[in-house]
Symmetry: D2
Subunit: 125 residues, 4 copies
């Protein structure tokens, strides 16, 4: 009986478990990276459904959201595993890139794309 949690489980452990799951079913033959990316996109589409037609006050089926989100993460882990991408490192690099693209003083309180911020910043220079 393992018990996974965000504080105690590494992505490596999760990847390992999925490798075992897929090997037991001989599913590696189907898991071309292109298909894993499609699978992730299809699951992301399902994640939209519980939010559809809902206003900010409406109740959302959180159990459904939790399950669809798990499906997305499973696809991400399968794809990362297949392409030997270290997901944590990729996320760290992307956060660093976002920190540069969205400087705190320019981006604070604004939902504006980084290219617009870059133009503003150049205009001030």
């Amino acid at each position: 009986m393992s018990d996974w949690s965000d504080g105690g489980t590494t992505l490596e452990e999760m990847k390992g478990r999925l490798v075992a799951f897929n090997e037991a079913r001989d599913w590696g033959q189907f898991h071309a990276p292109k298909d894993l990316a499609m699978c992730l996109s299809a699951e992301a589409g399902e994640l939209l459904e519980p939010f559809l037609w809902k206003g900010p006050e409406d109740t959302v089926d959180l159990g459904r959201v939790r399950e669809e989100l798990a499906d997305v993460v499973i696809c991400a882990l399968n794809l990362a595993g297949r392409l030997e991408i270290d997901l944590a490192a990729a996320v760290q690099d992307k956060i660093a890139s976002n920190e540069a693209r969205y400087p705190v003083d320019l981006a604070r309180g604004r939902a504006v794309k980084y290219d617009v911020l870059a133009e503003e910043s150049a205009g001030e220079g």
Copy 2:
């Protein structure tokens, strides 16, 4: 200089870093769960692009895949954080459910949906 890796970084650590990133920019006001789910779906769409029009022999821009995949995972972490979903536990539960839906003896070597497997299994009974 931290250095994240799938073997050494927990999802909790990643979530914490994203909370700090968003708070510094006062972005919580934009991050309604519905919008975070949409964002994830838009990023999943971008993840398809490097695979588009490619045959199994064609080279794929892996740097692009790595970056888009990181974007997807960042959205997933933001959404899980917002809704207080423990992602690792959600993934563990979904793998357990998939183990029941795709029994090794029936699913082995076949890309067939669980409802078809269930019908086969019922037919044999």
Copy 3:
């Protein structure tokens, strides 16, 4: 100088123009149905972007929406053309199916999925 409009242009005309566009570029070789479906999904992801982080009062870039929506429809026409699907007939059939799934008296004023309606209807019987 043609001028297309929803009232005066048929889907057949649009499909024909796209066939000519693709043939002039010898792009048929890339247009496997699987890739055209992926392309549509990627464009649908781009269509989400102008709506991201927006409340009901916020202004949306309608020019961007119009362009992304056109991309989605172009993908749909390319895929339908490739698979020899008559889109108008497919839409008509789907509307007829939706009319049966969402009876006016049960579905009126409610954003509820057809399977829930079917259960309600059975419960009453």
Copy 4:
């Protein structure tokens, strides 16, 4: 008994039928443009499913593709209707833009993005 076909049915006719369908069910209240865009994206995700894990030789469930494609087009028509976008004109404009972005002599037989073509073309100048 109407009978729709790509050669004989206009988009205006289809839009009109959908307006009647939605009005009969009083669904306009749910059809915020943001939700219609999400709905389209969710349907585009479902369109990926019949192609998942399939090689070029495998049979694809074309009835399923036809139905999911119809769902996508219905969402596109609902969104265009809501925002008073003439879809045919939008498609015509986008094709014209693509003709400029993908000149026949540069784009012929190549699945390359327009920005790459533009760089090539500038390099030659």
